[in-house]
Symmetry: C5
Subunit: 100 residues, 5 copies
């Protein structure tokens, strides 16, 4: 899974039947680049569209799952999705010592 | 899923039987790179060939799904595809404040 | 799917039983990088080994599918492959105006 | 699979039902970049969240599996995960001569 | 599939039950970068851990399959792996003319 931040939403009136009623949020996977003495959170990069089933809101840090297993969050596994929000992150703990 | 723009089409006379009758469009995944005060939409990058089942046209922004779940848009799930257009995007809303 | 060019072949005498009899071609995924006024076809990059079931030859432009759905081109879906040639491309049409 | 180092943990109170009770660790895939006479272990790069079922701890080097097969480590394969820790690494042996 | 070179091995005493008895080798995917008049074999890059079922040895060039279909080389498909060695490469033929 990846940590991501919810940054927006998408409206698509014409879509695959299985997607009707799904909540589509735009998320930005978070990457941490570690250098010498700093821990940088790089938020630049790709934007994904993920199906939300946990009630995530804009600005929240979430846990996303990608690939075919993302369909398991849906009521109907026939939904053609490849990314889903599976949790809202309360706390991230990084052991500084284990980072170079 | 990813946001993409339809930029062309492909004709392949000789192909796998399951692909006969499918509409193959060339799409360009959209990436947003956020820097200081700007929100850039980087449209450079790879081109994919996706099966269209929602009636997308050249120039439209669409929602694409990649990987094995893309087959779920097809009448026959045995079709060997790994990308499909699952929606035509009407509106994208990005919360500026949530972007760095 | 991706557009690719067939550039070679591989011989592996000792291999998984399910691969016996398969035709293994080396393909180079094509990426189009768009800059200012030019449309460049970048052929540098990774080489893949794909199973051919459509009779593709060296130098031809083909359509490849990657991931687990590639197995659907095989007579036996138990074959451990992750890339297959599913079509020989006759024509690629890119709408210049839709590219930046 | 990939070699990775466990660097932290994640707490997500609100999450998909199937994830309740899973231990979520933050891991950093290890990449080895080989240049001239040195073997560098690049630990910078993306952080993943993986489900642990082997009792891994912070600072340990582990073996991770990604994609849909990660679900096979779970008691219930319906769990929507795409990364799992499947082993704790005791020893890595790299043949220097085989590296350029 | 990808061409790769076997460069080492991994020992993990504590691991997922399905992995007990599997031979875990470290492989380096080979990438060919083509420039002007040269054909360079770039061996730098990521290292993967793949399950071997064809008896590959250190220094050999092999064919690897990645993703969920890698499990098909195992006696038990429930094994949580995402990379496997499926062949030992005897010969690679690249048509120079087809490379740019």
């Amino acid at each position: 899974m990846q940590l991501a931040k919810v940054v927006g939403s998408v409206v698509a009136t014409k879509k695959n039947d299985f997607l009707i009623g799904t909540k589509l949020l735009i998320v930005q996977p978070m990457k941490f680049i570690n250098k010498a003495d700093e821990k940088e959170e790089s938020k630049n990069g790709e934007l994904l569209v993920a199906v939300d089933t946990v009630g995530a809101g804009i600005g929240e840090t979430v846990l996303i799952v990608r690939g075919s297993t993302a369909t398991r969050v849906a009521a109907n596994e026939s939904v053609p999705i490849d990314a889903a929000i599976v949790g809202i992150v309360d706390n991230i703990e990084i052991e500084e010592a284990s980072l170079k």
